[in-house]
C-alpha cells in the first residue's frame, strides 16, 4: 500500500497523496483553492481552460493542476506570484471574447466566471478589438442557450459522452470559429440532460422555463426530496416570496450524486398549473359548487361515520408520505375497516402474503455499480428511475454484464450483454430459470411454470453471466410489478437469483412504496408488517364492490389506477367519493362527490422511505396555492372529526415520531418463499397496454409540467398513446 502513497508539499505543507492522483484533487482535499472551469470531479480531465495553472518546483512552466499527476517530493505553489500571474493571464484571455453581459444574464450572482473574474480579472480590459458573436441554438424546451458566453470548457460535451452516453452537443469548427452546438438543429433530450445547466460554469446554458424570472440572491434555498420515483433524489427548491422558481440538485453521493432527472427539475411547474383545485367543492345533483373547509370536512366525516365499516375504502398512491400513511391507517383502524391500499398499479395481489415487509432494491443505490452482472427484468428503467438507470450505466461502463428481460425493447446507452425480448415476461424468465437450473432441480414453486420450457442460447448466456459473477443481482422493475401474473414473474426471478447465487430486489413505484407498506396502507398488513386478522380489499376489489364511502388520497383515477380497469366509471357508481387532491380534472369531477384541495410535495412536510430503505424527511418549501392544505393536516382534522383517538398532533414531526416509536424492528429481507407450486399463467403473460408508463406521465405533477410535456420524449409518448 505504501507504494501507492507519495509525499508532496502544497504551499509549504506536507501532504500525502495517492500515486497518480491529479494535483487538483489533492489541493481540493487540503483546502488550497485552485481556480478552475473545465475540471469537474464527475467528468474526465480535459485540461482545456488553463485556469488551474499552478507553480511546481523545478518545472519551468506553470502546470495545470487538473492534469498533472502527483509525484514523490513534488512541491506545489498555488498562490505564488508565478501561479497567480498565470491564472490572471488565463482569465484575461478567457474574457477577450466573453460578452460581459452579467446584468442581463440569469447566471449573474452564481457564475463561476463572474466569481473568478472578480478574483483574477483586471478591472479594465486591454482588449480593443471586435468580440466574436455566436448564434444561439434551440436545443429544446428545457435548456436555454446564450452561446456567445461559452468559454469552451466542454463540460457539457463530456457530460453527453460520459454520463448519459448520448452525445449530442459537440465542438464544431475550429479556432476562432469553434462553437458548442449540435450542428444540425435538434433538441438535446435524455432524461438527465438538464444537468448541463449546473455544469456550465458560465451563463451559456441556463434553465429555460426559469429564464429572467428571478435573481439568485433574492431567492431562499430549501432542501427537499423528489416525489417522482423510488430513488428520492435530493433537491433544493429556490423560492421567491413563497413561490418555487426552480429546482436544482442537492448533492448526495449515496443517492443521486450531483445529478437529478429532468422531471425532478421541472415538475415544480405543475404547482402553479391552471388545474389546481383552489377551494373545496361538493357535487349536488350533478352540479359542483364551492364550499368552505369546515363544511366540507364535516360532510366527509359524516359520510365516513355513517358508512357500514366494511363499506369504507381508502385509496392512496405510493406518493403518500409516511405521516399521511400513518394517519390514514389509524383512521382505517378506528373506522374498523381494512379496505386500505396504496398499490394502485399492482394487478396481481394473489401472492401478497409473501411480499417482503417493504419492497427494496436488494442493495444500496450506490452498490449497483459494484455488481459484475445484473439482470433487469420487466423494467423500462430509464423512465421508471433515471438515477438507477444511470447507476446501471456506470456498472456497464466499468465492465459489468447488464442484461434485460422485457417484452418490449428499450434503448440503453451502453453495451447490453443480452436483451431478451419478443415474448411475455413469464416466458422469458422461465427460459432463464431453466438455464440457471442447468439440469438440476428447480425450486418447487416454479416447476410447473418451467414445465416444457427449453432454454435458448441467450437464456443460457444470461444465466451463466449471473452464475459466474462475483457479485450479481436480479432486479424487477415497475413493469414486472404491474404484470397480470406478477406472482409468476416474481417467483421466477427469485428462482433465478437463488439458482445463480445472485441477490434479488427491485424498483418500487413512486417515492414511498416502502413507507406506505411500513405504515400499513395495505389491506393485508397492519403497521409494521403484522398480518391483519382479516384482510381487507385491495384496490381492484374495492372498486368492484359497492361502497358507502371511498376516500382517494391524491389519486388521479384515470391515470394512476392500473390495478383496475374503468376506475373512473366504477368510482362514479360508488355512493360517495371524497377526493383529497391538488388538481381538478374531468376524471375527478366525474368520479368524486367531494373535492378537498391538498398541497403538492412542495407545500407539505413529510417523509419518504426510498427503495434502499433510507428515510428522508423534508419540510414544506412553498406557500400553499389557493386554500390547499397539507394532506396530513386534512387527515388529522378528519381523524378528529370521526373521533379517532390521539389525533392531537401539532406538527408532522409529531406524527412521524409517534410512528417510528411504534414501529418495531424493520426487516430488510427480500427473501421470497412461495406458498406452493405456482400454476401456469395461460395467456396472462401478454403485456397490458398501460403497463409501461412513459417518462413524463408517471404522476400528476409530471403530467402537468409544461416544459416536460413539450419535450420530444413526451410528444413521442403522446403520439403512441393517441394511436
Amino acid at each position: 500500500m505504501s507504494d501507492d502513497i507519495v509525499n508532496i508539499e502544497v504551499d509549504g505543507e506536507a501532504v500525502e497523496a495517492r500515486r497518480g492522483q491529479m494535483l487538483i484533487e489533492v489541493t481540493d482535499a487540503v483546502g488550497a483553492y485552485v481556480p478552475r472551469f473545465c475540471y469537474h470531479d464527475k467528468l474526465s480531465v480535459a485540461a482545456n481552460c488553463r485556469m488551474c495553472l499552478v507553480e511546481v518546483e523545478k518545472v519551468p512552466k506553470p502546470m495545470p493542476a487538473c492534469a498533472t499527476p502527483v509525484g514523490e517530493g513534488m512541491k506545489v505553489f498555488t498562490k505564488s506570484p508565478k501561479a497567480i500571474a498565470a491564472q490572471k493571464a488565463t482569465m484575461e484571455f478567457l474574457l477577450i471574447n466573453h460578452p460581459l453581459d452579467c446584468p442581463i444574464c440569469d447566471q449573474g450572482g452564481e457564475c463561476e466566471l463572474q466569481d473568478l473574474a472578480i478574483g483574477y480579472g483586471r478591472d479594465v480590459s486591454r482588449y480593443n478589438d471586435g468580440k466574436r458573436v455566436v448564434k444561439d441554438k434551440d436545443i429544446g424546451p428545457l435548456v436555454s442557450t446564450d452561446m456567445t458566453r461559452c468559454i469552451h470548457c466542454t463540460r457539457c460535451v463530456r457530460f453527453g459522452e460520459e454520463i448519459t452516453g448520448k452525445p449530442q452537443l459537440g465542438t464544431t469548427d475550429r479556432g476562432e470559429n469553434m462553437k458548442i452546438g449540435t450542428y444540425v438543429e435538434q433538441s438535446v433530450d435524455h432524461e438527465l440532460s438538464a444537468n448541463i445547466i449546473d455544469l456550465c460554469p458560465v451563463g451559456a446554458l441556463n434553465n429555460k422555463p426559469y429564464r429572467y424570472s428571478a435573481r439568485a440572491w433574492e431567492m431562499a434555498q430549501h432542501a427537499t426530496v423528489s416525489p417522482h420515483d423510488c430513488v428520492g433524489s435530493n433537491l433544493y427548491a429556490h423560492v421567491l416570496r413563497g413561490t418555487v422558481k426552480r429546482i436544482v440538485p442537492r448533492a448526495n453521493e449515496s443517492i443521486n450524486e450531483s445529478w437529478i432527472a429532468d422531471r425532478d427539475r421541472y415538475s415544480y411547474e405543475a404547482i402553479y398549473s391552471g388545474d389546481r383545485l383552489m377551494r373545496p367543492r361538493v357535487k349536488e345533483n350533478g352540479a359542483w359548487r364551492d364550499v368552505d373547509w369546515e363544511g366540507a370536512l364535516a360532510q366527509a366525516a359524516d359520510v365516513l361515520k355513517s358508512a357500514d365499516q366494511d363499506k369504507v375504502a381508502l385509496i392512496a398512491t405510493p406518493a403518500v408520505t409516511v405521516e399521511e400513511g400513518h394517519l390514514l391507517s389509524q383512521i382505517a383502524d378506528h373506522l374498523g375497516t381494512a379496505n386500505i391500499d396504496h398499490r394502485v398499479g399492482r394487478r396481481d395481489v394473489s401472492d401478497q402474503d409473501n411480499d417482503p415487509m417493504y419492497p427494496s432494491l436488494g442493495c444500496s443505490i450506490a452498490e449497483i455499480e459494484q455488481h459484475d452482472a445484473i439482470l433487469v427484468a420487466g423494467s423500462n428503467v430509464r423512465a421508471e428511475a433515471p438515477i438507477i438507470a444511470h447507476r446501471l450505466r456506470k456498472a456497464a461502463v466499468a465492465g459489468a454484464a447488464i442484461s434485460f428481460a422485457n417484452s418490449s425493447v428499450y434503448e440503453y446507452l451502453f453495451d447490453v450483454a443480452n436483451y431478451l425480448s419478443g415474448a411475455g415476461l413469464v416466458e422469458l424468465l422461465a427460459g432463464v430459470a431453466v438455464a440457471a437450473a442447468d439440469g438440476n432441480s428447480l425450486p418447487d414453486s416454479v416447476t410447473e411454470l418451467c414445465d416444457g420450457v427449453t432454454a435458448s442460447g441467450a437464456h443460457k448466456d444470461v444465466a451463466r453471466s449471473l452464475a459466474e459473477a462475483d457479485r450479481a443481482i436480479v432486479l424487477l422493475g415497475n413493469i414486472a410489478g404491474r404484470h397480470a401474473s406478477y406472482t409468476a414473474v416474481r417467483a421466477l426471478a427469485a428462482a433465478i437469483a437463488e439458482l445463480t447465487g445472485a441477490s434479488f430486489g427491485g424498483l418500487s413505484e413512486g417515492p414511498n412504496s416502502a413507507g406506505a407498506c411500513l405504515a400499513g396502507v395495505l389491506p393485508h398488513r397492519a403497521q409494521g408488517g403484522e398480518n391483519r386478522v382479516t384482510a381487507g380489499l385491495d384496490v381492484a376489489s374495492m372498486l368492484a364492490q359497492a361502497m358507502d364511502a371511498v376516500v382517494l388520497v391524491n389519486v388521479e383515477p384515470d391515470a394512476d389506477i392500473h390495478a383496475a380497469t374503468d376506475a373512473v366509471a366504477r368510482l362514479a357508481e360508488q355512493a360517495f367519493v371524497v377526493a383529497l387532491t391538488p388538481f381538478v380534472s374531468d376524471a375527478l369531477l366525474e368520479a368524486a362527490d367531494l373535492l378537498l384541495p391538498t398541497g403538492t410535495f412542495a407545500e407539505t412536510s413529510g417523509t419518504y422511505v426510498n427503495v434502499e430503505g433510507t428515510w428522508q424527511s423534508f419540510s414544506g418549501v412553498a406557500s400553499a396555492v389557493g386554500e390547499a392544505r397539507p394532506t396530513w393536516k386534512v387527515l388529522r382534522v378528519l381523524g378528529n372529526l370521526v373521533d379517532a383517538p390521539g389525533f392531537d398532533y401539532v406538527t408532522s414531526v409529531d406524527v412521524r415520531d409517534e410512528f417510528v416509536a411504534r414501529l418495531g424492528e424493520i426487516s430488510t429481507s427480500n427473501a421470497y418463499e412461495a406458498s406452493g407450486r405456482i400454476a401456469k399463467v395461460n395467456g396472462a403473460d401478454a403485456p397490458a397496454n398501460d403497463i409501461d408508463i412513459p417518462l413524463y406521465s408517471v404522476d400528476a405533477l409530471v403530467r402537468r409540467a409544461t416544459a416536460l410535456q413539450l419535450t420530444d420524449e413526451a410528444q413521442r409518448a403522446r403520439a403512441v398513446s393517441d394511436g
Binding site: G160, P167, T172, D173, R174
Partner: protein, 161 residues
Amino acid sequence: MSYVLSGHVRDEIEHWKARFPEGRQRSAVISALHAIQHENHGYVTAEQMNAVAEYLDLPTIQVYEVATFYSMFQTEEVGRHNVAICTNISCMLRGADDIVEHVESKLGITTGESTGDGRIYLKKEEECLAACCGAPMMMVDHKYHENLTTDQVDEILDGLD
C-alpha cells in the same frame, strides 16, 4: 430520406477501419468523409455525415465535429473542381498574391466562392502544402501545380471541364 453509402465508399471505409484496433472505428471518419466528398463533387452534406455515423456506429455529432474542423472538408455546396492557391510564406514571397488576384478577376469570384456554373470552387485560404521549393503553387483536385505563372494558371483552369 437517409443517404445510402455507395459500394466504393463502404469498401474505402472498411479498408481504413481494418487498420485501426477494434473499437477505434472513429479513426476511419476522415477517410470516409474524403471518399464521400470525392464522389459528391467536392462537398459533404449532413445526410452523408449521418450515413457515415450510422455505418461506423458513432454519434452523429462526432462526425460533424470532424467534418467542420478540417478545412479540407466542405460542408456547403461548392463548385466541382477544388482550386487551392497556397498563400503561405514561401509562395507569398514568390508572388502568390498576384496569382490569387489574377484568378479572382479571371473567374469573377473571390476566394471562398464558387463560379456560377458550378465548375470551380476557389478555396478560401490555403496554408503551406509542403511544396515550398516549387513556389508559388496551387492544388487543383489533389494535384499539385508548381512554379506557376499566370499563363500556366489560365491553361490549367481552362482545361477543367
